[in-house]
């Protein structure tokens, strides 16, 4: 069975940016803290626009924050 999901490095990036809180990131990206929590946990895949906004907060390209993984399960 093939499982596809979007992973991200937001947690690590927050830590590297002066230990930015989820609340601060949410404010900068224009979403609620719950949405950031859900994205970090992998429970919610953001829209392309939100993914770009989050990447812009860290001054990175979208690929450096989000990646698309295909997992092969037997």
């Amino acid at each position: 069975m093939i499982k596809r999901h979007i992973t991200n490095t937001i947690r690590k990036l927050r830590f590297e940016h002066n230990e930015m809180t989820q609340e601060q990131l949410a404010e900068k990206a224009g979403v609620t803290r719950q949405t950031i929590v859900a994205i970090e946990k992998g429970n919610y895949s953001p829209s392309l626009e939100l993914a770009f906004r989050i990447a812009l907060v860290f001054n990175l390209s979208i690929e450096e924050v989000f990646s698309y993984e295909i997992e092969q399960k037997i």
Binding site: V31, T32, Q34, T35, A38, N43, Y44, P46, E49, L50
Partner: protein, 148 residues
């Protein structure tokens, strides 16, 4: 817990506190009245039409009461910010509610086609409206908690 999530619990309490007593009142009133077919149609139409302003006013009152209570307990105002995830949750929950109501609507039509009275049809419609509303609220609570 975000303001959007709290709003679901407020809606749940409002639905249970307002709709259930109203339905009990309406069904009891119906038992006491002897009506012909046009009288029955008028009775149920009025009952549904009356429920709309009652629900709107009660939602507004409960939302204000909830916001005041939150401000008293936490000492700060709740931010009424909703984003794309809130919108998606809203849409998915509404879709789930429509599924319930769609099947109930078919059941109501089926009841009339099988020779049951219009009061049976309206009863099914009112109960299914209530159930679909509850299902919508529980869907939102589920999506907020588990994600999707």
């Amino acid at each position: 817990m975000s303001t959007g999530q709290k709003q679901n619990y407020i809606s749940l309490v409002t639905t249970l506190l307002v709709s259930v007593p109203y339905f009990i009142f309406i069904f009891n009133k119906y038992q006491l009245e002897v009506l012909n077919i046009s009288g029955e149609l008028r009775f149920w139409s009025t009952a549904i039409l009356l429920l709309i302003p009652i629900r709107i006013v009660s939602e507004i009152v409960m939302s204000i009461a909830g916001a005041v209570l939150q401000a008293i307990i936490t000492g700060k105002e709740g931010k009424d910010l909703s984003d794309e995830r809130d919108t998606l949750i809203e849409l998915k929950s509404t879709r789930n509610a429509y599924f319930i109501f769609m099947f109930s609507f078919m059941a109501a039509i089926l009841a009339v086609s099988q020779g049951h009275s219009v009061s049976v049809m309206f009863s099914i419609l009112i109960i299914s409206g209530f159930l679909s509303e509850l299902f919508e609220i529980f869907s939102k609570i589920y999506y907020y908690k588990k994600g999707f």
